[in-house]
Amino acid sequence: MKQLIQDIFVAVSLVFGFTSLVLLIADAPVLDAFKNIWLGSFASTMKFSQVLTVWVPLVLCSCGLLFTFRANLWNIGIEGQIIMGAIGGMAVLRMPGLENPALILSLSFVAAILGGGAWGLLAGLLKTRGGVHEIFGGLGLNFVAQGFILWLIFGPWKRPGIASMSGTELLPLKLWLSSPPGWRVAYAGLAIAITALILTWLFLYKSKLGLKLKAIGKNPRAAVLYDISPEGYYLLSIIIGGAFAGMAGFMQITAVYHRLIPAISSGYGYLALLLVMLAGYRIVPIPFLALFFAGLNVGSIQLPIVLQVDSTLSGVIQGCCVLSALFVLGMRQRRKQS
């Protein structure tokens, strides 16, 4: 236990130490920077609710990644899956003839899941059938999805008149997911994220599917002898991963931007990869760490306003957290051995 506290202390001070150093190099006030990040993310319900809007897609992506990591797949294509989910959802929202908002939104949600899942499936097929490592297949598909969404926004789905990087025409108000008064986060988003967490926990830790994914991840060759087809479960896990990413894409268009924009994924896929690594590929820390990461993202906006410091500092802190945690983990393993 004492060792544990010491390790956490080391990890946290590494993060603070490195970040302070970076701030000093940039000639910025160190303590003020940290203070402003915290104030900018948790100082008011308004800000906290903004943090939650980031928290929702992060949690959704992380849940998806837990499935793929379980099967020992590096689903770096998650960015593209978010994009394709958003495109799928948007396709339904743009469909003429439907009247009932609840129905349209539900259909759009399903389409987003299908869009993300299909893109995941594609990466999975590239791996299982095409022999392309999922990292490269995924990256390539990310670029393709990025090209596709730009083409849609500047082509068939462009705004009347001027196509611009601000994206497609704004959705009608009735298709916005509603938020509590004064809050910026949609009820539905919170509900979906929490449901996703519970479902993921049930699937991964309590169902046979979770066990089988773990088995595949640990030893695909042996899995064949247990009548578990690695190929099938790879595909399944990456489809599930893609589906969760698609949900995140859906939240982005219906609850955050209310339209399709080129950067709809907001880099949450990559951020979620970091998050899941920091959580040690386990579900329990995910909601908390997601809150932390979301807080950094939102709070860092105070830096340019108040201190005229670039807000990419949040990314530096996030990356540094993961590396410090990995470092401490490596040291622990090393200690254990000697």
């Binding site: 970076v22 190099i25 940039a26 590096w74 770096i76 590239l126 095409g130 022999g131 392309v132 490592h133 990292i135 490269f136 297949g137 990256l139 390539g140 598909l141 670029f143 393709v144 990025q146 090209g147 596709f148 730009l150 083409w151 500047f154 082509g155 990559y270 951020l271 990869l273 970091l274 690594m277 670039d310 990419t312 500092l313 949040s314 990314g315 530096v316 996030q318 990356g319 540094c320 993961v322 590396l323 990995l326 470092f327 983990l329 490596g330 040291m331 393993q333 090393r334």
Partner: protein, 346 residues
């Protein structure tokens, strides 16, 4: 100062006889492709060296940006291109040091460390480089061969290049020799193939890996510097080198861990990107994004062909001939055996 005015583009006069790709003369296309591929060649070769020793440095994308930033800032402050390039190399080496230490000595997942570092380096570059964005700094310009004027026009265009071009070409030759004929190259390969056996033969796999990673990441840093000091001079957000690291990683596979083929892949990629601009005017109805995104699906497509031909060729062993053999030579790919696995000394 006396200077003989060279016609801005002598190709203009002889345009009628020149082969044109879109509206670009062929010689110009070759020269552009060569210039555009140089940083990519250097970066991909750096990564290839690293992977030859069995370590994947996935931080490439961030490392390139970080070293580009450092190179530009240092070159500007010191007003020296050489110092800038060296600083870029050192910045790259720092990322290599982290990946190397974490994976070789702490036995952590190379992919996890590399990915986290990649995002960290990217944001660090933006953060620290912010005060230097879009300011004027030193730039490496093209230089002519000493016997430039004796060459035909076609060659004049191709050979007027920044010094990074001969550097990259020399690097290819050097690495071909290094891995084929040098003792150190053989040791690096042996560690990448079977570190346990290398250890049994008295080598120190960890040290060899670490040194190789450092050397490789130094080159990656030089490649990053080649962006901010030569190909896309200056720093800013976006710099223009974003995403290049991922492409370099794919190129190493495409090139089957052979220097000449990796370089060929980089040239091919640069060709697709450069000719995309020309194609835009040939096919105005196709959105420009299509040409720019095309290299990526094409790269994946090649990897699939590679997988197909590799498995066929393996199955048929050496007996095979004809199409499969041809495909095999072109697309067969084989990674160092212990790539990505960390070696624990017993």
């Amino acid at each position: 100062m006396l200077r003989i005015e060279r016609p801005v583009c002598s190709g203009y006069a002889t345009e009628a006889q020149t082969i044109m790709i879109g509206d670009i003369p062929l010689s110009v296309l070759v020269a552009s492709v060569l210039a555009a591929s140089v940083p990519l060649i250097i970066i991909a070769l750096g990564e290839m060296i690293t992977e030859k020793s069995g370590v994947i440095n996935l931080s490439l994308d961030g490392a390139v940006l970080f070293s580009a930033m450092v190179a530009f800032v240092v070159a500007k402050e010191s007003d020296s291109l050489i110092v800038g390039f060296l600083a870029g190399g050192c910045a790259g080496m720092v990322t290599g040091l982290i990946v190397g230490y974490f994976s070789i000595y702490l036995h952590l997942s190379q992919v996890a460390v590399g990915f986290a570092l990649s995002l960290l380096c990217r944001d660090l570059a933006y953060f620290l480089g912010n005060p230097y964005s879009r300011v004027q700094g030193p730039t490496l310009i093209s230089s002519k061969l000493p016997f430039h004027d004796m060459l035909p026009d076609f060659l004049q265009k191709i050979t007027t290049q920044p010094l990074t071009v001969p550097f990259a070409l020399g690097l290819i030759v050097l690495l071909v020799w290094f891995f084929k004929s040098s003792r150190a190259g053989l040791q690096v390969r042996s560690v990448g193939e079977n570190p346990a056996a290398a250890f049994a033969r008295g080598l120190n796999p960890n040290r060899i890996q670490m040194l190789t990673v450092l050397a490789g990441s130094f080159l990656v840093g030089i490649g990053g510097a080649a962006y901010s000091l030569s190909l896309k001079p200056g720093w800013g957000r976006p710099q223009g080198a974003e995403g290049i690291g991922w492409i370099a990683l794919a190129l190493v596979i495409f090139g089957s861990w052979q220097p000449s083929r990796v370089a060929l892949g980089a040239l091919l990629f640069a060709f697709l990107q450069v000719s995309g601009i020309g194609l835009q005017s040939l096919f105005p109805t196709i959105p420009s994004q299509v040409f720019q995104t095309a290299p990526f699906p094409l790269m994946i497509f090649t990897l699939i062909i590679m997988h197909y031909s590799t498995s066929k060729t393996r199955k048929h062993g050496e007996k095979d001939s004809g199409l499969h053999k041809w495909l095999g030579i072109l697309f067969m790919s084989r990674a160092p055996k212990s790539l990505g696995k960390s070696y624990r000394q017993e």
